[in-house]
Amino acid sequence: MNLIIVLPIIVPLLFAVIMLFFWKNIKAHKILNVIASICSLAVAIILISNVNTLGILALQVGSWQAPFGISIVADLLTSIMVLITSVIGLATAIYSLGSMDEQREKFFYYPLLQFLLMGINGAFLTGDIFNLYVWFEVMLISSFVLLALGGKREQLEGAIKYVTLNLLSSAIFLAAVGILYGIVGTLNMADVARKIPFVEEKELVTVVSFLFMVAFGIKAAVFPLFFWLPASYHTPPIAVSAIFAGLLTKVGVYALIRVFTLIFIQDTNFTHTVLLVIAGFTMLTGVLGAASQNDMRKILSFHIISQIGYMIMGLALFSPLAIAGAIFYIIHHIIVKTNLFLVSGVVDKMKGSFNLKKIGGLYRYYPLLGLLFLIPALSLAGIPPLSGFWAKFVVIKAGLEIDQALIVIVALVVGILTLFSMTKIWNEAFWKDDPKGNENKIIDSFSAIKLSKKVLMFSPIIILALITIIIGFNAEPFFNFANNAASQLLNPSEYISKVLGL
């Protein structure tokens, strides 16, 4: 009955392949993509409820007993990540129906989306460190093609930087896997975790852990490895930016959490202190980067980095509350960040630009759009009682509990700077009068968009905003969940025994 675990990988693959059979039939692609997203959501819901009731689930692919085959594992963290991925997948699927251009749709935009989701789910679900590498490759190639699809100069420039730096991450990751295998002789993460304590050369393990830290750190876009993100995220169509912004870096964060709670817990004094330093600089450089930008997408991109810092801070503090905070943060962040990108896409369609210097006057005529921006924006800035407040609150509380005053101060200062940049977008795009004058309320191409398409663009925004509000007002179940997930991570024995069938 554990077959459900593997479905989040199979469903997107299956639908992507079916779509390819329809070649360039856009209509079929659109319908299939929405069906695929709904199926994925259903699968994810079943998975999370199963994990919630039955505990950690593991499946040995091909029935090869672990650690000889590959294990697919779902614990609470995995299942919530899979669930949010499917939510974002569905939101993007619907938004794309309203906003994606026909050219890209013809050139396999929708199958590529499903391949990307397959890679992401695979990365969350795998219990094998080399298999994780494979899913990273699937993610990388699909995201690269999505990024470059359209072939505009700006896109290619971003895509080249993206792919080069991510290949560097892959190379380091692969080297690290090889070395790890050389040390413990196994690739199954549960098995690795079981064997690591018996390795004589502890420092060698620490060296490997840093290789993993760099490889995943590049993926997670932490300081000083984040360059690929601001170089590329503002170039593709906004639906693509939105799904990237929500999910890609979080796979890196997930991988960091996984290996630094399961495997590399030998020398936490050292490794997790390094993580803490990284977290602080990530928060700070990210938010300062955002403060210096005028393009909405670039501001939002730099904020991803800054927010990743908070998640890493939770991991680095390494207390139950802190890890729970990191998980809560991830949940909140994915929803909010995707939504902000989606809103910025609508702004661009209305005003013809992402550049804050060139647009304005939106609030006057479109107060509801203003509200739909303010909800995720204030949530991101940590204003209560929205989801972002609780996320920040828990992480900061965790930091104060273990006397890490410095990182808490950084987190607080970054909080106020985040508020600054969110109000900057609000100020320029919404409050300020349109520099082109009020006659030009919205550009013609937006008025020409059919109402049904507008509905398709707005409905995911509204739903994601509602989720933010629900998490904010009803934080208890979410926080409880994060707490349970954290305690699973910090007591890896259940994970190990379920995977290895001990």
Partner: protein, 766 residues
């Protein structure tokens, strides 16, 4: 209480809709909402006055200890009554004042949210719930200050207020978390029994500083005073309500609320005393060269806020009594005067005091309210302001240290306030009628009810203090000091020292008014306002942060891929290298063991070809050299008896070289870009990476690898996997899902190549 708050938020949310239907009468409808709240709470007056404390709690996030717990005692009831009473006046007033504005519906939404949050703030017994409302008041204040958002100055002031109060808010949050860490609970009422434990904790100084940072920013205490005068960009009803009567008192409320639980120490009392005294004095001085009605009122508000803080800092029984009376008095008279200033603005077209005069016949009702409020503000008997000022002085007279300094500063500050009052509340009505932009006329009823209501309240409270405030005073002081004062409020204390001080203040103030031009000259010569220029530091910090931000971003995100790669590699080397050199076996690594002559030769060939690749200026040569490296690796596979891998490698290498050569002809001529310096740098980095990886591999292979996998694969491959080639069985069976992933990668890559070749959108396309 929770239901009232929920009703409040819902009612506010529907304000824009209702406004659209009922435009003309909306002021009345809106005012009924705070009035309803006022009545609901006044009904609880008897219970509270008799000493009861009403509590209510619903759990919210119990696993974090966060609950909707509310507590109604004397202190919170006083604040709620002030909030709702002035709310009623302001909501009604705004119905007329805001009628020519765009988006009046949104205005009521924000101010409704504000009022509800403010009520929530003063009722909360849970620190985090309190904080949630605290932040909501900051946000609604932001939206209200920036209400005229087409003006740049409005937007800037709104942002300034938000950043200052928001920053303080974050400090407050940290302070509350620390406090709860000491007390073990977020409930404020749980703090009272463990005062000694809190005060003796090592976290105590941090708690005090952080909580006071929150309070001082919100209540605009020095050095955070500058945002309040700038907040006057808001429409006048907002200034009257948020930035004079209610929100700016939230910080003071917080100090009062926590005083009993964490106060009474030197650090607490002195910090509050000093900040309050400085604010009181500086704000009074800064008011001097203002001519704008609202700015004048803002600075006098600041001065009063300073006084209130100072009184909390003194902390004696008498000072708390003075605090309470002064708080009530100020809310009433300042609310009135702001509304009057709004009437001037609306009905004459100017807010400049030097352009107003002789309006007494034209605006008689306004004048009545204004004069009542002014007399209260100047401390003239029989208004409540008189009692306020008297008790302030008598409490200062009780202070032991620096008594005369405090007294002198208080008298001077109050004299300045008297001068401001004359300018704002009295001068415009008397003297010669000055020409104005609009023909002056009396304000409509909606705009008059509010100021009159508040002014009359001020008079009645002064005349019958035992009816209006005695009981609330008793109950509030219990909340603040945990003991009953047993002091009765009286209007008349007889002829004494304090009365003399009040009289001196009044005379001084009148003197300041008459000689204000000469004094202004002196002050300008001292260029005092330059030193104290309110937002000097704010701008410095903001601009400094922004320039630093763009500088660091230019350095980090510089656009050059090569630097990105260098950053990443150096990080990798730094992180791993440090640990690597701690490994004990690192010195004794022996690379010569088991080295055969074949391996050595192949190694040398690989290294030599690599050098050829990087030094060659011909692309063809470089590609051939790469091919050589690949073939050598293939030979290594043969040496380690893996002929199938070797064959695959040979095939791939051959193919790659051929493909490269084919592509070569299409490429432009090879150009040398890098200078010698960067070449050396790159060489060092590359060599370090190589050496470093080699060392790790050597270290890893130094020990015998123990793997069950090898053995298992060897045994199970044929038996269970039905294949003799172990590698094949691993790929298609044991680890089939890896292969599935890799096939997917190839398929996606194929799609990508196809799409990139075929699809070229033009730059203009979306």
């Amino acid at each position: 209480m929770l239901n009232l708050i929920i009703i409040g938020f819902f009612a506010s949310a529907f304000a824009p809709l209702i406004y659209k239907r009922t435009k003309k009468y909306f002021g009345w409808i809106a005012a009924s909402f705070p009035l309803y709240m006022f009545i609901s709470f006044i009904l609880k007056y008897n219970e509270i006055a008799s000493g009861k404390i009403i509590k209510e709690a619903i759990s919210w996030i119990p696993s974090l200890g966060i609950n909707f717990s509310f507590l109604l005692d004397g202190l919170s009831l006083t604040f709620v009554l002030i909030i709702t009473l002035i709310g009623t006046a302001v909501f009604l007033y705004a119905g007329s004042y805001m009628k020519n504005y765009e988006h009046t519906g949104r205005f009521y939404l924000y101010i409704g949210v504000f009022m509800t949050s403010m009520i929530g703030l003063v009722l909360s017994d849970n620190m985090i719930t309190l904080f949630v409302f605290w932040e909501l008041t900051s946000i609604s204040s932001y939206l209200l200050i920036g209400f005229n958002h087409h003006k740049e100055s409005s937007r800037k002031s709104a942002l300034q207020a938000l950043l200052v109060t928001g920053g303080g808010g974050l400090a407050l949050m940290a302070g509350l978390i620390l406090l709860a860490q000491v007390s073990g609970s977020f409930e404020i009422s749980a703090l009272y029994d463990i005062h000694d434990k809190i005060v003796s904790s090592k976290l105590y100084p941090a708690v005090v500083i952080l909580i006071l940072l929150g309070a001082f920013t919100k209540s605009a205490q020095f050095p955070f005073h500058f945002w309040l005068p700038n907040a006057m960009e808001a429409p006048t009803p907002v200034s009257a309500y948020l930035h004079s009567a209610t929100m700016v008192k939230a910080g003071i409320y917080l100090i009062a609320r926590f005083n009993h639980a964490i106060g009474g120490t030197v650090i607490w009392q002195d910090t509050i005393l000093i900040a309050g005294t400085i604010t009181m004095f500086i704000a009074a001085l800064l008011a001097f060269n203002q001519t704008d009605l609202k700015k004048l009122l803002a600075y006098s508000t600041l001065s009063v806020l300073g006084t209130l803080t100072m009184l909390l800092g003194i902390g004696s029984n008498l000072a708390i009594k003075a605090f309470f009376i002064f708080l009530v008095a100020h809310s009433l008279y300042k609310g009135t005067l702001f509304l009057v200033a709004g009437i001037f603005d609306h009905k004459t077209g100017t807010r400049n005091v030097s352009m107003l005069g002789g309006l007494k016949k034209l605006l008689p009702v306004t004048m009545t309210a204004a004069l009542l409020a002014s007399f209260s503000m100047m401390g003239i008997i029989p208004l409540v302001g008189f009692i306020g000022k008297e008790t302030v002085y008598s409490s200062i007279l009780e202070v032991e240290n620096f008594r005369f300094l405090l007294l002198a500063l208080a008298v001077i500050s109050n004299a300045f306030v008297v001068m401001v009052t004359i300018l704002v509340g009295i001068k415009p009505f008397f003297g010669k009628l000055l020409p104005t932009l609009k023909p002056p006329q009396e304000a409509p009823v909606k705009m008059l009810i509010g100021p009159i209501l508040l002014a009359v309240f001020g008079l009645l409270t002064g005349l019958f203090p035992n009816v209006f405030i005695q009981k609330l005073l008793d109950r509030s002081t219990i909340s603040i000091l945990a003991e009953e004062l047993g002091i009765t409020v009286k209007l008349w204390h007889g002829f004494n020292y304090v009365l003399l001080l009040s009289f001196v203040t009044l005379l001084l103030g009148i003197g300041l008014y008459y000689f204000r031009k000469q004094i202004l000259q002196i002050l300008e010569n001292l260029s005092l306002s330059n030193y104290l220029k309110p937002s000097f530091w704010y701008e410095r910090i903001l601009n400094g942060t922004l320039s630093f931000a763009s500088l660091q971003t230019k350095i980090l995100q510089n656009g050059y891929l090569r630097y990105y790669i260098i950053f990443i590699i150096i990080t990798t080397l730094g992180l791993t290298g440090y640990t690597l050199f701690k490994i004990s076996g690192i010195g004794s690594l022996d690379i010569t063991t088991d080295l055969t002559i074949y391996e050595l030769i192949i190694g040398i060939i690989i290294i030599a070809s690599t050098f050829l690749v990087i030094t060659s200026v011909s692309r063809l040569k470089a590609i051939v050299a790469i091919g050589v490296v690949g073939f050598c690796i293939g030979i290594i596979f043969i040496l380690y008896s893996a002929p199938d891998l070797a064959l695959t490698t040979f095939a791939i290498e051959t193919l790659t070289v051929i493909l490269f050569v084919l592509v070569l002809y299409r490429l432009p001529k090879y150009l040398q870009f890098s200078n010698p310096g960067s070449k050396i740098r790159d060489a060092i980095i590359a060599a370090s990476v190589g050496i470093f990886m080699t060392m790790i591999v050597l270290l890893v292979t130094a020990g015998e690898m123990q793997s069950e996998l090898k053995k298992y694969f060897a045994e199970a491959s044929l038996a269970e996997g039905k294949g003799r080639n172990i590698v094949n069985v691993i790929l298609v069976d044991f680890r089939a899902i890896d292969t599935l992933g890799e096939i997917t990668v190839l398929a996606v890559a194929a799609i990508g190549v196809y799409a990139l070749l075929k699809l070229r959108l033009k730059e203009g396309d979306k």
